[in-house]
Every structure is written in structure tokens, then in C-alpha cells.
């Protein structure tokens, strides 16, 4: 018989050992899945490691994949901390991409360096605006934010498709002859291309650096300020927050807006760092928002852990894209992410409880009976 005993003290080393252990166990389970479906795990994993982290080129590609994950991971972590389950990071990223691209196009090449901050602000506004819909519904009508934020992902995906494929919108390229046949977004002007830092053979996208800075800001905000204190209390016990006179509704709006803004900046970074156009297919195919939930949960909502895990899962995603084919079926990345998350959830139990096999006392009592 397995029994669980609540731990009186949670040893610090567990908070590192559990995520690491979960990844290892998840790889073990993945091995079983691969074997069961007739693939060679050794081959698959070694190619995965090579393509994700094996060389400077691989790491540069991983940075590209990790950047949006960093933003959506922070987006989820910020909200989940307060038990607000914003799973609309996906849609908020699209919204940020739409407004970010609009800002970039509107400013053209005349405003010089101003384009980049303008795109960041526009992206943040887009993401926050979309996140405020479930936030307002939750705060004032106590509507479940999980379902509303998720439904808006589908709506946002339809909007972004509409802008490029089914309309003559501001974002759509209508000048070139090919664009008339194959709809695509306008190319952003030069000034809207975000800078790329070059350090020892590695190329660091501006968005990645911005994300790390944001992570630090969020950490300070959540651990060192009055705002963060209120978020902690509300997340732990809403009744205690009401009791202490905290304004829970305002906090719901603020946290959701912040969460959406972070995802929105991630969308703007897609425009400015990588795609240089509004690219519905690329954005909607990637599933950045959902991966962000995995990252936040694995990082136990700690912003710095999110940075690290975004990088690791970025490598996985990068390898997934690069290797897609016979010995690396599509869907493998999602299966991996799901397994890692399952293991982390199970591992969480080890942090809170001590697992005991059998019960000495009871057995002795039965033996004498």
C-alpha cells in the first residue's frame, strides 16, 4: 500500500531535483512511446540534442524558437501566480503581432529608432486589450476565465487570417503581382527590424534580451513590491485578501493586462525580430501560447526558471521543426511537452508529501490479530 504523508518542512533541494527528475522520467516515458511505435529512441534523441543544442548554429536557431516561448511562458506565469488561469497567451500574442506590425508599417522609415519602442508598446497594448476581455468578465461577472480566454484564441486566429487572406486590410501586401495570387502581409520597413546582438558567434535576438529583462522586472514586481505582495495574498487565499482590504478586482484587471501585454510584446517580437511581416500561417501553426503554459508550470511560475526552461523547450521545438519527417513525426514535440508536464505535476507531490510504502504499524497489528 502506498501512503502519502504531508511534509512538515519542504527541503530546498527538492525544488531543483523535482523538475530535473521530471525531465529525466519524461524522456524515459518518451522512449517507451518511441519503441512502441517502432522508432529508435537513441537515434531520435541524439538528433534532437544535436539539432537543438549541438552547435553554435543550432543554439542560434534555438534562441529563435525560445524567444516567443519566453514571452508566453512569462505571460502564463504572471497570471497563474494569482490563480488566474489565462490560457489566452496564444491569442494575445497574435493581437500583439497585429498591432506591432501596424505600428511598424505606420512609422515607416522616417522615425528612425522610434519604430522599435513603438512596436513594443503597440504589441503590449494589443495583448493587454485582448486579455482584458476575460479579465473584466471574471472581475465583474465572475465568468470562468479559462474558457473565455481560450475561446478568444480561436477568434484572434480568425481575425489574423481575415486580415491577410480575406480582406484588403492595411496589413496585406496588395502591390506586388504575386501577392495578388498568394495573399501575404506587407513587408515591414527597415526601421522596424529589431537589432540582433552578436556575441562570440552567437546571435541574440533583441526580443530574447528584452524577455530576460522583463523576467527580472516581473521578479522584482512580484517579490519586492506592494503590488506583488497583494498578488501573493490573493493567489494564496482570496478570502484573506478581502479580509485585509485588498482590491481584488483591480488586481485581476492589472495582472491579466500585464500577462496579456507580455504575450503581446512576444507577438511584436515575432514581427520585428524574425518574420518582418504579419504572418498568420507561421504564427498560428506554432502553438506558442500552449507551450508557454507548460513552461510556466515547469518553472513553478518563477520568472528566472521560465527563462531557462524556455531555452530548453525552445531547443526541443527547434529540433521538432528542423527534423520533421519520417524518423521525427510531427506531434512528437507536443507529446514530449505533455509528458514533461505530467511528470512535473506528479513530482510536485514529492515536494509536498513523503511517500511511504506499506505501513509498519498496521501490518504488525494485523499479524497479531
Amino acid at each position: 500500500m502506498i501512503r502519502f504523508e504531508r511534509r512538515l518542512r519542504q527541503p530546498g533541494w527538492l525544488s531543483v531535483a523535482v523538475p530535473v527528475g521530471s525531465v529525466i522520467v519524461a524522456f524515459g516515458l518518451m522512449t517507451l512511446v518511441l519503441l512502441a511505435t517502432g522508432h529508435s529512441p537513441g537515434h531520435t534523441f541524439s538528433r534532437l540534442l544535436d539539432t537543438g543544442f549541438g552547435s553554435k548554429v543550432a543554439i542560434n536557431e534555438t534562441f529563435v524558437s525560445a524567444t516567443p516561448l519566453l514571452f508566453t511562458g512569462l505571460c502564463a506565469a504572471v497570471a497563474f501566480r494569482m490563480q488566474l488561469f489565462n490560457i489566452g497567451g496564444e491569442g494575445q500574442l497574435y493581437a500583439g503581432a497585429i498591432l506591432g506590425a501596424a505600428a511598424g508599417i505606420a512609422l515607416g522609415n522616417h522615425s528612425g529608432w522610434l519604430s522599435v519602442p513603438a512596436m513594443i508598446v503597440a504589441g503590449a497594448v494589443g495583448g493587454a486589450a485582448l486579455a482584458l476581455v476575460p479579465a473584466i468578465l471574471r472581475a465583474f461577472l465572475s465568468t470562468n476565465e479559462i474558457i473565455t480566454s481560450l475561446m478568444l484564441n480561436y477568434v484572434a486566429a480568425l481575425v489574423i487570417n481575415y486580415l491577410i487572406f480575406d480582406s484588403q486590410s492595411y496589413w496585406r501586401d496588395t502591390s506586388s503581382p504575386t501577392a495578388k495570387v498568394f495573399p501575404q502581409g506587407k513587408n515591414l520597413p527597415e526601421a522596424a527590424n529589431w537589432p540582433l546582438a552578436h556575441v562570440g558567434g552567437l546571435y541574440l535576438p533583441f526580443g530574447l534580451l528584452l524577455g530576460v529583462v522583463l523576467a527580472a522586472v516581473i521578479w522584482v514586481l512580484y517579490t519586492r513590491t506592494r503590488f506583488g505582495f497583494e498578488v501573493q495574498v490573493i493567489g494564496d487565499s482570496p478570502r484573506a485578501a478581502t479580509y485585509a482590504g485588498m482590491r481584488t478586482r483591480r488586481k485581476i484587471l492589472a495582472v491579466m493586462a500585464l500577462s496579456g501585454a507580455v504575450a503581446g510584446i512576444g507577438g511584436a517580437s515575432q514581427d520585428g525580430d524574425f518574420r518582418h511581416t504579419l504572418d498568420p500561417r507561421g504564427l498560428t501553426a506554432a502553438g506558442y501560447g500552449y507551450a508557454g503554459i507548460v513552461i510556466a508550470a515547469l518553472g513553478r511560475y518563477n520568472p528566472f526558471a521560465v527563462c531557462l526552461i524556455a531555452f530548453l523547450l525552445g531547443g526541443l521545438q527547434n529540433a521538432g521543426f528542423a527534423l520533421q519527417g519520417v524518423d521525427f513525426p510531427s506531434g512528437l514535440v507536443g507529446v514530449m511537452q505533455g509528458l514533461i508536464l505530467f511528470c512535473a505535476l506528479g513530482g510536485e507531490l514529492l515536494v509536498r508529501y513523503r511517500v511511504r510504502l506499506g505501513s509498519r504499524g498496521a501490518q504488525r497489528a494485523e499479524a497479531t490479530a
Binding site: 519586492r224 506592494r226 503590488f227 484573506a240
Partner: protein
């Protein structure tokens, strides 16, 4: 008389505590046997072992001479053990009849289909046979706590319990209702059943039980005949030293001008409907006013409305002559209303946060602990450490999560925080529920000190002994209205009890 149940050297450990440490207990057929002990003495653990909810780490259970081992509550039920838990185990949206037949798997219970009409008839008949009147079609949430308790007893009878355990059954009853419960228990014992009556109230034990087994710190201290025991001797056994039984202590300090006035207060309950119906109250500086009443008559709503956690539907709360807007806890805190809530673990503190964080739960915006928007974590920690020293909080330092404190120490943290804000008014709800005698004495001393220093104290409690020991005036609440007010020095338990049951009647 033959022994019906015997527990031999039962030991049960939880992480960090030995709840039962070699407990011995024996009760005969046809007797009412009291299990007496302080909160935390191990009574509830023992009854949970006897009902199959917990498995003992060591020791054995013997029923009518046969050793038994319960793998689940179902085994205990089938062996003839029924229990009325302190917090009722009823399903609120179900009817009385559905609750009574729940989990039955013998006889009628073997049938796959449930026929509401038939089970209602069966339950009505059962009620008639034992003169326990409840409407089998009523939903549990519509019933008073006293009626719910009768449903719990019916459940045990329906399952043909020969041993009935009641955990603190009088906590939800008026003194008169308690009397009639005692009569029912006597009838059941006369039929040859065994009644195990768990309590920490000495006069009840004297009134109903044939024998008493006293538990302390998880151990059996003694089993005595009730006839030969006195409340004083039982108290000494229970606490392990001579104690002064809760008696009135005269306080220093003067009673002054009204500091809290409640005028015609109405408020809605959680399920809709009016939980408060025009409450009028007045508390003066230096005075302790108690609100007595059976649980669920609007006490929680009253505390919440005064402290701004709940919006009033009508009426006013006035502090120092200034009316509050209401429905805003921050405003109430600023006006000087301190609040020790009933649910200290989930309302009084944020349980996963540290003691330090919880100590500044209401003052985190203050100048002492902030620099601009930033918190001065060092200052917060130092402040917590000094309060921990001053209020003698034991169990850990400022960084310890609040949930890991014992009930008494947790209450000290709450009191420390609330007193530290220099309140004008202190609203305390069930401040000693679940605490041991030493902690109760400490809490009572703090409350008296607060009143002596000029704070107006509103004490909301279901424990009449506590009320009579502390209060200057007692207001009795019934169905959301104050039905009477008496001078605590010149009243009796019976007088208050009658008011608790609805006043004049």
C-alpha cells in the same frame, strides 16, 4: 455488563505529532460513556480510528470480544459502529431520505434503482419509531443545525448501529435542545446500545455519562465513574494541573462612550435571503459585548458586515460617531476596526505565506515597511520577530509558512497583528474554538487586556461558558435579529438558552 467495544494500545502518528499514544478504552453495552479531553488530546483521532477513517499504526480494536480490523469506513459501519461527526457528514443538496440511505448496501440497499417515494416512507417510519421528527423530503441545507444532527442520528439508526459515537454534539444546540438530546441518548442506551459521547465540557459529561475516560496529550489518563467525580476533579484530570474553571474575572478600566454603533443592519446571506434583519447594537469603550446564539443565525454575516467584508443591504455601521460607507474592509480597518475572524486559517491569514508576510497583511502599505512602491523586507522580518517574541508565538521564526503553526500559535499571530494596529473596536469570532486550555487562557487574557486599555470588544461566540466568563453584556442573535439583551453578571445559562431558541417561547 458485557463489554461492547475495547481499544487496546492504539497508537496513531501523524507527521510531527503522535495523536494517539497507546490509548486504552473500553465501553460496555447499554452505557453512555464519555470521552473527555482538551482540544488536541486525541479524541477525534480515536473516533476516526473506531469508524475506519484512519488505520491505527499500532494496537487493536475488539468488538464484543472479537478483534476486528477496518480497511474502510464501510467495514466499521457494517460492524455496527455509527458516528455523528462534529462537522456533519451530510450532503447539503440531498433530501433527508437520500442522506439517510446513502451508502447502504444491505437489504433495501442491494437494489440498483432508488425509488424516492419508497425511501422517504421508510425514513419517515424510522423517525416515527424513535420519535426523531424530521421531514424526509426536506433538503439538508434548509434545515437548522439541530435538525441536521437528528438526521445524522437517523443515519446511524438506519444502518443499525449498536455503537453510536457523537463528537461534541452540543456545540450546535441551545441548552434546552442539548437536554432533549441527552434524553434520546439515554433511551438508546437503555435499548442496549453503547453511546460514546465526546466532549470537553465537564457539566455535560456529568449530566449524561455513566463513566468517563479522560485523554490527555494522546494518552489515556483514567476511566472513572461519573457519580464519584466532580467537575473540578475531572478538570484536573483533563488538563493535568489544578485549573480555575472559567469564572468571571473583574477587569480594570472604565466603560466609556459608545465607540461602535450598529443601526438597523440588514445583509444578504451567501445563498441569497436575508441573513441579517435589522440588527441594532452598541459597544462602548472598555466594554466587552457578546453575541450569543446557535451557529448559523447570522453571526458570520454580522462580523463580516461590520468589518466591511460584506456589503450591507440596509442600515449603518458607525465608529466614533462617523458612519462607514460599508462593504469596504480597507475603510473599516482605517476607521480602527480590528477583526479576528472565525476561519483563522483561510481568512485570518494567507496560509502558505510566511508569518512575516501575515503580520503585515493589513499594514503592508504603511510607511514603516515600504520605500515608495517597494517593500522593506528586512523591516518586515524584524517587526515579525519582535511580535513573535512579545506574543510568545512558538513553532518557528518569521519565515515559517503560517499554515504550519498550531491553532493556538496561529491565533496569537492574528491577535498580535490586530492589536498592533491600535484598534478602536475589536470584532472577534469564536476566538478559542479548537484551542487547548492554556491557549484559551492566553486569548482570554489578551481580550480582557484589550478592553481594559479602552478598546470596545464585540465577542461573537457559540460557547456560553466563554461568553459568561468574559462579557459585560450579552446580546442574543436569532435568525438574523437581536432577540434580547441581558447583563452578563445577572443572567443564567437557562435564560440565554431560551433566547437562543427564538426568544419569548
Amino acid at each position: 455488563m458485557p463489554s461492547a467495544v475495547e481499544l487496546r494500545d492504539i497508537t496513531k502518528r501523524f507527521p510531527g505529532v503522535v495523536a494517539n499514544d497507546g490509548v486504552r478504552f473500553e465501553a460496555a453495552e447499554g452505557e453512555v460513556h464519555a470521552l473527555l479531553g482538551e482540544n488536541g488530546a486525541g479524541k477525534s483521532t480515536l473516533s476516526n480510528i473506531l469508524t475506519g477513517l484512519y488505520r491505527p499504526d499500532e494496537g487493536e480494536i475488539v468488538l464484543w470480544g472479537e478483534p476486528v480490523s477496518f480497511a474502510s469506513p464501510r467495514d466499521a459501519l457494517d460492524a455496527g459502529i455509527g458516528m455523528v461527526h462534529q462537522h456533519f457528514r451530510l450532503v447539503p443538496p440531498f433530501t433527508v431520505a437520500e442522506n439517510v440511505i446513502l451508502g447502504d448496501h444491505r437489504g433495501e440497499g442491494k437494489k440498483f434503482m432508488v425509488h424516492p417515494r419508497r425511501i422517504e416512507r421508510n425514513v419517515a417510519e424510522l423517525g416515527k419509531r424513535y420519535r426523531i421528527a424530521v421531514d424526509p423530503r426536506a433538503r439538508i441545507w434548509q434545515l437548522s443545525l439541530g435538525e441536521q444532527q437528528r438526521v445524522e442520528i437517523l443515519k446511524a439508526l438506519y444502518r443499525q448501529a449498536r455503537i453510536l459515537i457523537l463528537d461534541e454534539p452540543t456545540a450546535v444546540l441551545t441548552p434546552q435542545e442539548a437536554e432533549s438530546l441527552f434524553e434520546t441518548l439515554r433511551v438508546m442506551a437503555d435499548e442496549g446500545r453503547t453511546v460514546i459521547f465526546i466532549s470537553h465540557k465537564l457539566h455535560e459529561v456529568k449530566a449524561v455519562a455513566d463513566r468517563v475516560t479522560v485523554l490527555r496529550d494522546g494518552r489515556t489518563i483514567d476511566t472513572v465513574d461519573t457519580g464519584s467525580a466532580t467537575p473540578r476533579s475531572l478538570a484536573a484530570l483533563m488538563v493535568g494541573r489544578e485549573v480555575s474553571l472559567a469564572e468571571r474575572v473583574e477587569r480594570d478600566g472604565e466603560i466609556g462612550a459608545p465607540v461602535l454603533e450598529v443601526r438597523g443592519l440588514w445583509a444578504h446571506g451567501d445563498r441569497g435571503g436575508d441573513a441579517l434583519r435589522g440588527v441594532d447594537l452598541q459597544v462602548r469603550t472598555g466594554e466587552i459585548v457578546a453575541i450569543a446564539g446557535v451557529a448559523g443565525n447570522g453571526q458570520r454575516e454580522l462580523a463580516e458586515t461590520i468589518t466591511g467584508m460584506r456589503a450591507a443591504a440596509d442600515g449603518q455601521v458607525v465608529v466614533d460617531g462617523r458612519p462607514l460607507r460599508g462593504g469596504d474592509a480597507r475603510e473599516a480597518i482605517r476607521a480602527g476596526i480590528a477583526h479576528v475572524p472565525e476561519d483563522r486559517l483561510h481568512t485570518g491569514v494567507a496560509p502558505s505565506l510566511s508569518i512575516a508576510s501575515n503580520v503585515v497583511l493589513k499594514s503592508y502599505r504603511g510607511k514603516q515597511v515600504t520605500r515608495g512602491p517597494l517593500l522593506r523586507l528586512r523591516a518586515i522580518r524584524d517587526h515579525a520577530a519582535s511580535l513573535i517574541r512579545r506574543y510568545d508565538v512558538r513553532g518557528g521564526g518569521p519565515e515559517l509558512p503560517a499554515r504550519q503553526l498550531s491553532g493556538g500559535n496561529l491565533q496569537k499571530v492574528v491577535l498580535a497583528r490586530e492589536f498592533h494596529g491600535d484598534p478602536r473596536v475589536l470584532v472577534v469570532a469564536s476566538p478559542t474554538r479548537g484551542l487547548d486550555v492554556a491557549a484559551i487562557e492566553t486569548v482570554h487574557r489578551y481580550l480582557r487586556d484589550a478592553a481594559s486599555s479602552g478598546v470596545g470588544v464585540l465577542l461573537i461566540s457559540e460557547d456560553l461558558d466563554e461568553i459568561l466568563a468574559l462579557a459585560d453584556r450579552v446580546a442574543v442573535i436569532y435568525e438574523g435579529a437581536i432577540v434580547g439583551e441581558v447583563d452578563a453578571g445577572a443572567t443564567t445559562v437557562e435564560e440565554i438558552g431560551l433566547l437562543m431558541a427564538g426568544g419569548a417561547g
